[in-house]
Point group: C2
Chain length 86, copies 2
């Protein structure tokens, strides 16, 4: 599954649209963020996406977890938010 | 229900312990954070709390939402994370 990567400069309504689109198509979405600014945008996006998905009768919940990603040869700790129907 | 308030200086393992304790006692917990640093600590705390609660057979999920709080007479937008069993 494609991972929705969020940065601190991502617009949360745009990310929310992506989350809602993937949820409708595939039933779940994965969002990845590194750093406080990115995690904040990602969480706001999930809150907004929940509103979009409620209109489709989907009660979306979110499962946060730590994950390790490699960026330019260095390991970084990222937050992964898995969005699923309840 | 008491709300667990998280700041950017909160230690996420300590917040995780509080979340797990409230979950065990009351079956759900509410976490509130204002600003990117605080939201980041709150999300990390939920990820850690999930690990604690798995040991108790609880599959904890999280529902992010916007909320408005008044601080020193001014309205601020906060993120509320409701933690519940799946």
């Amino acid at each position: 599954m494609d991972i929705i990567k969020v940065s601190s400069r991502s617009r949360s309504p745009a990310v929310a649209g992506a989350i809602a689109g993937v949820m409708r198509e595939r039933g779940r979405a994965e969002v990845q963020a590194i750093g406080a600014g990115a995690v904040n945008q990602a969480v706001k996006a999930v809150a907004i996406a929940r509103g979009y998905l409620t209109l489709d009768g989907i009660d979306a919940i979110c499962i946060p977890a730590f994950t390790t990603v490699e960026i330019e040869g260095k390991e970084r700790t990222a937050i992964k938010l898995t969005v699923e129907p309840r």
